[in-house]
Each structure stands twice: as structure tokens, then as C-alpha cells.
Symmetry: C2
Subunit: 213 residues, 2 copies
């Protein structure tokens, strides 16, 4: 079955499953039950079994899932065998932290170019990543065939920079600004709003006695 | 009606609504339709109307919602009138970026204490926030009555530090580590997994032609 038939809620959980399965494989665990998985990744076991069934990965009753098989399987699904290059635009402290972070937990994504107009940074290499002036953004993105960008510019520049990214062929943007971007429907935006996440946590603590979802 | 009857999916959207409404109020806008709101915050208008109806905030047909009334209303709901103090544990580059970020978009939360064992940092003030050695964590959290903490320690320390936080009375943790924390049910954990979010974006671009959810 084609991956495009997988519900998007399921798709969002795949990286979480994969990370934990890789941890199990690294620590020599050979099999895992959906209940153990559920406990570790905080997703209920019925949901896990349903998610896995979309891929035809069926555990055996009384045995569970073979860890190595699942890891190999998710590696293919998530294209872990292929490196995806990502651009980062805007080197404020969050941008710089993301450069150092460089998604090191994952082995298939890498920030390979950063853009900023701070003349102290352009032309240098920060945390292994070359920093270009934004005037070179379009050329570099096209030359390096980068389709995904992380946006950490000041809010008031966000829309203009996003427009330029799209013009240069970017199809996915991880947006750390609080600007809600207006972009063509062909571009996927993932908003990361840390203040709202923290505020939600405050709200839940004020209003709910438990942590169920 | 009590806030605790509000669906949690609705609760998660409240900070997003509030931020945009405040922006409208600041720019002098007096009224807004659910369609305009929908377009700005990328939530469909039927969902917005249903969300608002939980609070008895009903727009008038052909008029929409009164922006000032909604802002005042959300301010009460989200307790924007009261400052919530938050602790940050672990001053790697991400921790330091969060200190500088200090949730400045929001006016009701503030990181008021940071903890780390780097002797170059302890006893100093970074981005306006005092940095204490972790040996003082329990005392400081109790003295300052801090109930919410941001966890940016190395993964292998995450569980131990989280246990110590809970022992000191913390009820909510924003977890930037990739460790899935095992904590009492009374503690709410919000996992922020930037690598998985980016991986999900890559996956969607590979498998879906559009950006619908």
C-alpha cells in the first residue's frame, strides 16, 4: 500500500516510534510488545497496533514485534538511508542553538547552510555549517537543491523571507517565528511556537487535575 | 461553566487565538469575523466558532466578534493578569537560547531561575536570569514556589533531574530531551521534540502532495 494512504496522525507518530525502536535495537533488545512500546512512547497500545497495521507490520500474539525488523522497516519508510539537507535562516540565539543542536539525534537530516546578514558571521563556519549572506540565499538553495528551511528571523521579516524561500524552491518550512505565514498551498509549514506550548502547560495545570489528553 | 469542561484540543488553541487577538487589538482593529480569524490562525472557522461557544463568546451575525471583549475574556481565561514563574534546568546552547528567548512574546510567563553545574555560569546572571548550581535546585524551587520547569539537560540525566524536580513540587515539565520521562500521573509533561518535528516535515514532503491535515 502507498504511504500516502497512511493517516497523517499516524505519520506524525512514526519518528517517535522509530527513535525508541532504534534505542531498543542499540541496547540489544530483540522483541517488544505493543504494551511495552505504549508505556515507553506514551501512546496507547491499541493505537500502536492500528498504526503498525497500516504498514502490514503485524506482531505475533505472545511474542510481540521483532525489533530489528521494525527498525529496518521504519528506516525505509522514513528514508533514513538518504540524507536530507536543510537550510537555517536567521542566526539569533535560537538560530545558533539550532545550529549546535543540528538534529544530532537523527541521522538523516542535517543543516547544511545557514543565512544571516550579520557581517561577523557571514563567510564563517558555525558549528560545522557555512553561513552565507541572505543575498546568496536563492542561489545556494537552488545549487544545493535544498527543499526544507528552518525560519528563525525576527517576526517582522518572516513573511518576506518565507516568500523568498518559496521562490527558491523550498517546499517545507519549520517556522519558529510567531508570524502566521501566508504561502501557496503547495508549501507545508510546521509552526513551532514555544511560548504557546508553555502557556498551554500553565493552562492545563490551572484547570486540569490529571495529565490525560 | 467550569474551564475543566473545555475539550483539551480547544484548550491547546487558546494561546494561539489570544496572541492574534492581541495583535488585532494593538493595531486598532475593533471587530473580527470567524472567517478572518480562521484565515489568520489557520484553524477552520467552524472549529473557531465551536471553540468560542464553550466560553459563551458568541459572535453576532454580520458583525463578528468584538476584539477588545475577546482579548479581555482570554486574558482572564489564560490568567494573563498573573505572572507564572518558570525554572530552566540545563544551560547547553538550547538552554541558553531559551533564556534569551525568555518567552518574551508572552507577558504572563517568565523564566525566573536557571540551574546548571558549569562553574563559569553559576552565581552569574544570564539574560536577566540568575543561574544557581543544581545542588540549590530543591531549595530555590520551594522558596520561589515554582511549579513549572523547562528541561534541557543531557538525555542521560533527564530522568534523575525530572525526579528531583517532582520531589521539589514541580507539576509541569516542558521536556526538550529525547528521554521519555516516567513520572507520577499528577505531573504533566509536554515533550518538545524538534528532530521529530523536522523529520515529520520531511516525511510529509516525501509522501503528500498538499499540506492539509
Amino acid at each position: 500500500m502507498s504511504n500516502s494512504k497512511i493517516p497523517k496522525a499516524t505519520a506524525k507518530r512514526l519518528p517517535v516510534y522509530y527513535r525508541y525502536l532504534r534505542f531498543l535495537a542499540d541496547s540489544g533488545t530483540q522483541r517488544v510488545s505493543s504494551t511495552e512500546l505504549a508505556d515507553a512512547v506514551k501512546v496507547d497500545s491499541a493505537t500502536i497496533r492500528r498504526d503498525f497495521s497500516y504498514f502490514g507490520a503485524l506482531g505475533k500474539r505472545g511474542y510481540g514485534y521483532d525489533v530489528r525488523e521494525l527498525v529496518d522497516f521504519f528506516k525505509r519508510i522514513l528514508r533514513q538511508d538518504r540524507l536530507t539537507s536543510v537550510a537555517l535562516v536567521g542566526l539569533d540565539s535560537m538560530g545558533q542553538a539550532l545550529l549546535h543542536y543540528n538534529f544530532r539525534q537523527s541521522n538523516n537530516m542535517r543543516i547544511s547552510a545557514a543565512f544571516d546578514d550579520d557581517s561577523k558571521l557571514t563567510g564563517t563556519i558555525v558549528a560545522g555549517v557555512p553561513v552565507y549572506p541572505t543575498s546568496e540565499m536563492e542561489t545556494q538553495l537552488r545549487d544545493q537543491q535544498i527543499k526544507i528551511a528552518i525560519l528563525t528571523v525576527p517576526d517582522e521579516q518572516a513573511q518576506d523571507v518565507a516568500d523568498a524561500l518559496v521562490k527558491a524552491g523550498v517546499l517545507g518550512i519549520m517556522n519558529f517565528t510567531t508570524t502566521r505565514l501566508n504561502l501557496p498551498k503547495t508549501v507545508r509549514v510546521q509552526n513551532v511556537d514555544l511560548a504557546s506550548e508553555l502557556q498551554t502547560l500553565v493552562y492545563f495545570l490551572d484547570n486540569y487535575g490529571d495529565k490525560e489528553d
